[in-house]
Amino acid sequence: MSAVSERAYLDHAATTALRPAALVAYVEAAGVLGNPAAQHSSGRRARGVLDDALEHMGELLGVPTSWLLLTSGGTEADNLAIRGAALAAQKRDPGRLAVAVAASDHPAVLESARALRPEGLEVREIPVGREGLVEQEALGAALSDGAVSLLSAALVNNETGAIQDLPALSRIAHEHGALVHTDAVQAAGHIALPRIGAGEESPDLMTLSGHKIGAPIGVGLLVAPPHIPLQPVLVGGGQQRAVRSGTLDAPHAAALAAALAAAIGEQEREAARLAALAAQLHAGIAHLDPRAVLTGEGAPRSPHIVHALFPGADQDSLLLLLDQEGIDASAGSACTAGVTQSSHVLAAMGVDEELARGALRFSLGWTSTAAQIDRVLAALPQALERARAVRGLRRRSP
């Protein structure tokens, strides 16, 4: 087995490499004894570590510290935003009995919404067009009866990298009295993040995830102004505005702040660098396989995701062959115990199911290099030839 460092890791959208600064921050903070909620000297010291981290993140995001809720990750933040805001809104106004989600959104968003059905809430899935962008007319129509309390739409799609027009979506939602949540876990570090609660074109709630930007797995953030009522999902000791109970996690907060500082600080330069690598990969794929379809080519895309459809190729075979060549890539869609599930994102975009079976996602990050792209382009021709032969296997007649 070759060492991890020798591999071309191109699955940063799944999880990216831990940033050294985040690891140092974590280890230093983890050595500080004390529960941040305790009143004694040790507790205050731990609280200081946590507050430093929160203040730092507030500055980076342009929001007060009190707007930041630490969670166990992006999934929990999405659950809290959607479930918390929808249930609280309905309590105040029983007419707000629906939530709206982009049909192409992440399962953490879609399932959070669908889990509200047993509570009597309705879920309205807003269609996306061929480029993966929310249909604005359909959104307006879905919100027109004033029953929707919250719209959730990811800023950057985790499979295709498509960037939603969040200002436009926010304006439409706000016109109909709905709140706006955005899952920005794929956006952080790659495109500029929106200011939260800054007017009609700005979302009201935003999810971030630590391990997508170089912090350890196990921490996320919900940016949530206190004036937006949220019904807690986790109850207990009343920490974090009694909206999210659980012992305050200073080490993870410190690591998240360090990673966020690096991600946001380097964002412009890194976006340009990754865009060049993505362009290299795009051009290489178009050259070596003229049949390949580059997903959402005409739409705004995050620079870190290259998503391609290889007609007639078997996805699982491609991944195996690339893996053997030292390349970590992904089908993009969810995988259950090793079996790649068909992509609801591509289905929502109207991509033919057969074509979707040849989908590959290469996602770049802060450790990606041009040499890694070269390696992918060198390995792809043979992998494609073989993966196409596999798909070409005629099924024997029963």
Partner: protein
């Protein structure tokens, strides 16, 4: 060689993969996901392809130190094995889905895919041996050293071409306890897992219930060999030639002897029953012949007609579109649809599908 090891998550395939590594091969583990709706965990010894099985296979591969992947062959399995199982029963025959799976999934779909992806051979945890006694020293298929576990019967449909691309690392084990002991020594974590029995896609083991749910009820008559109506049934697919239990007849035979299913006729929805003697035959007729070496009429062979049965001596009477074998002594319970495998000693010389009693 670059070897693809099929790993079910069970003891046998894990030890087989480890042995292929020991033999110096470059091994990659693959778990076939065959069920469209997988349960999370196993219950008892029935069923397969749960998420827990996939996870057991992954752990074993990790322990052995080989790459591991899951291949989703659920559609192929459904179309080629499950649908065939249903249509065969609907036609009054008695299919063996494990034989069918070996023929169409493991040594066809899986093997072809492996070869296209650059592998040289497929290793499985089957109990059988590969020799060099085929025509001109070609690879030949033999019974396993562990005779009670021998699976050459269900493997024979793979045919002679596939043998040259197959590895059966467990063929030399004398008994299953040794395999379990080796799994324990290798810390494969699956050493205490129960063996799987029954049909993997019928999780509760109730084949008749499964067939009834999928094929629906089609009531008809149960008759004796002379055409007298003895009772009724809910569907011919609930019956298989040679079956004695579950006939649902209230009146015993006049002579008190047990009655067996003699014939299943879905076209008229009739099930014919009668005494054991009427079930016996000396002549086997089988179609879809797969010869492993040139066969000639008059050749003495041993014929096996079910997975856990004895091979009985006989002689090849006729070879054409069908093959006919005359046995030295009559056998009972020849069910159309089951495999007929012919042996020369412990070597497989042909496989075919039983058609009817002559």
């Amino acid at each position: 060689m670059k070897v693809l090891a099929a790993m079910s998550g069970g003891v046998d395939s894990a030890v087989a993969a480890a042995r292929a590594v020991d033999a110096g091969h470059e091994v990659t583990g693959v778990h076939m996901a065959l069920s469209r709706s997988r349960a999370q965990t196993r219950s008892g010894s029935r069923g397969c392809c749960t998420v827990e099985d996939a996870s057991d296979a992954r752990r074993a591969a990790e322990r052995i130190g080989i790459p591991y992947y899951v291949w989703d062959l659920a559609d192929d399995f459904h179309d080629l094995v499950v649908e065939d199982f249903l249509s065969e029963y609907a036609a009054g025959r008695t299919p063996n889905p494990c034989v069918r799976c070996n023929e169409h999934i493991k040594f066809a779909t899986l093997m072809e895919r492996a070869l296209l992806l650059g592998f040289d051979a497929v290793a499985t945890g089957h109990y059988a041996r590969i020799g060099a006694e085929g025509p001109g020293g070609a690879p030949s298929l033999h019974r396993a050293a562990n005779l009670p576990k021998d699976q050459s019967y269900v493997l024979a449909v793979m045919g002679p071409q596939a043998i040259s691309r197959a590895l059966f690392p467990l063929g030399g084990f004398a008994d299953k306890a040794e395999v379990r002991a080796e799994a324990r020594e290798r810390r494969l974590g699956v050493s205490t897992k129960p063996d799987s029995y029954d049909i993997c896609f019928i999780a509760d083991g109730d084949t008749r219930g499964f067939l009834e749910r999928r094929l629906g009820e089609a009531p008809g008559e149960i008759l004796d060999a002379d055409g007298a109506v003895l009772g009724e049934h809910r569907g011919t697919h609930g019956f298989t030639v040679g079956q004695r239990k579950g006939l649902g007849l209230e009146r015993p035979a006049p002579d008190g002897a047990p009655r067996y299913v003699l014939d299943v006729r879905p076209e008229t929805r009739q099930v014919i029953v009668g005494a054991a003697e009427l079930l016996s035959t000396r002549v086997l007729v089988a179609s879809a012949l797969i010869p492993f070496e040139p066969l000639e009429t008059g050749r003495r062979v041993r014929a096996q007609i079910r997975a856990h049965g004895e091979a009985v001596p006989g002689v090849i009477e006729r070879i054409g579109e069908e093959i006919e074998v005359r046995l030295d002594a009559p056998v009972r319970g020849v069910a159309p649809g089951q495999a007929l495998v012919l042996y020369d000693g412990d070597r497989v010389i042909a496989a075919a599908t039983l058609e009817r009693r002559a």
